[in-house]
Amino acid sequence: MAILEMNHIKKSFDSLEVIQDISLKVEQGEVLSIIGPSGSGKSTLLRCATFLETIDAGEIRYLDERVAWVEPDGTRQYPKKDQLRKVCSCFGLVFQSFNLFPHYSVLKNIVDPMVHNQKRNKTEAVNEAMELLGRMGLKDKADAYPCQLSGGQSQRVAIARALALNPKILFFDEPTSALDPELTGEVLKVIRSLADLHIAMVIVTHEMSFAKEISDHIIFMDKGVVEVEGSAQDVFEADHERMQAFLGKLAH
């Protein structure tokens, strides 16, 4: 079963076409990485998938159900309040800038959405959150506030917060771009451990060796178009001038 399917997505900001007819599919447990130069529309694509931006054309399907689409006459069909909540509960998103809630402790950042939005039992939620923090190596930070954490720790809390809601698919929007190499390592380690848990993931990243190692499937985007796609090996070895130039620049 496909967890997520995006078909013929288009998105413009004013007259700038940021995404031009992109389709992709993510199966259960599959890891998809999206790579490409800045401004190629990678993040916008994730934001469309998570309804933070609306699409201008195409359709988005979650769990084989069409949830958002644009009619031929251009009217957008997005799920209404209750259905939207249901759809949203099947995905999580990890931001480049973490977006933890600074006025909540680490534990409350994770527990509050579980209890307040998913109506889970408080004690149960706390136990599960503590276990997640343990897996992130942050058990001792439960009572700390986000301002007391390093970037790497913040991002791991953000991942725990997303995981706590039991998403079927997790989106990562350049999760390590705000981190130095050392902190990047600890976050990538955590993401790698999630791949072993068989959670579907879509990762927008500039960490090429990481993408190569973790991904079942890779998309190289440039100027809103998918230029190369396929298995990790196929993509990195593809004879595509623009992509090799991009990869080459990264290597130096």
Binding site: T50, F51, L52, R85, C88, S89, F91, G92, L93, F95, S97, N99, L100, F101, P102, H103, D112, P113, H116, N117, Q118, Y145, P146, C147, R161, A162, L165
Partner: protein, 216 residues
């Protein structure tokens, strides 16, 4: 008239000043939030009306607004202006005036919030109302507290404007005693009261600020 008698009479007026102060805050703080919603809302008609209301409140003297609220009903409907109405008019004028200032403070705070907070809340399943009251507003309060403190301190001194309706708050009484005794002393005593009142207000606001200092 002895110093103690003067202080006693002023203290009586001070109670009334505190009444005006407290009631104004109780009404204008929530009202200001409502007004700021109108100011930032999608509805253009409401937005322009609110903009006009704020510009009048900030652009005309509070003393004049007090007179307008008090005498307005008489000139418009020929309403008899009693004692009870005078107090109500004072509270209405102060609340409506301060709500305009608070609304702009709320707006500045709300608009300074990074969009990432709204986006994270949305992804985590918070409704719009929960997002505002659980995630956004607590952080806004911390951000705007210094500006709110400024307004609250100004309000302490502004309560003296109620003298324009001859309401027996502290300044009115100080003026009466000063006229009767031909002495400046009552004014000095009143100044001392206002100063101490504000010192307490400033102290309390600082306490609240430091209580919110557990995060940045």
């Amino acid at each position: 008239m002895s110093f103690q008698v003067i202080m006693g009479q002023l203290a009586g007026g001070l109670v009334k000043s505190i009444e005006i102060f407290a009631l104004t805050l109780i009404f204008s703080l929530p009202l200001g939030l409502l007004v700021s919603f109108g100011r930032m809302g999608k509805n253009r008609v409401i937005r322009s009306l609110v903009w006009f209301y704020i510009s009048v409140m900030r652009g005309t003297p509070l003393m004049l607004q007090l007179l307008a609220v008090y005498f307005g009903p008489y000139y418009i409907w020929g309403m008899k202006l009693g004692r009870a109405w005078r107090f109500m008019a004072i509270i209405i004028a102060f609340s409506v005036n301060y709500a305009a200032y608070f609304a702009e403070i709320y707006r500045s705070g709300i608009e300074s919030m990074p969009p990432g907070q709204y986006e994270a809340a949305r992804i985590l399943g918070y409704s719009k109302t929960s997002t505002f009251f659980r995630i956004i507003f607590p952080q806004v309060v911390k951000r705007i507290l210094p500006s709110v403190t400024n307004e609250v301190i100004t309000l302490v001194k502004d309560t003296s404007l109620a003298f324009s309706l001859a309401y027996a708050e502290m300044f009115t009484i100080a003026k009466q005693i000063a006229a009767k005794e031909t002495s400046f002393m009552p004014f000095l005593a009143a100044a001392l009261f206002y100063y101490v009142f504000n010192a307490i207000v400033a102290f309390l606001m600082e306490r609240i600020e430091s209580a919110l200092n557990y995060y940045t």
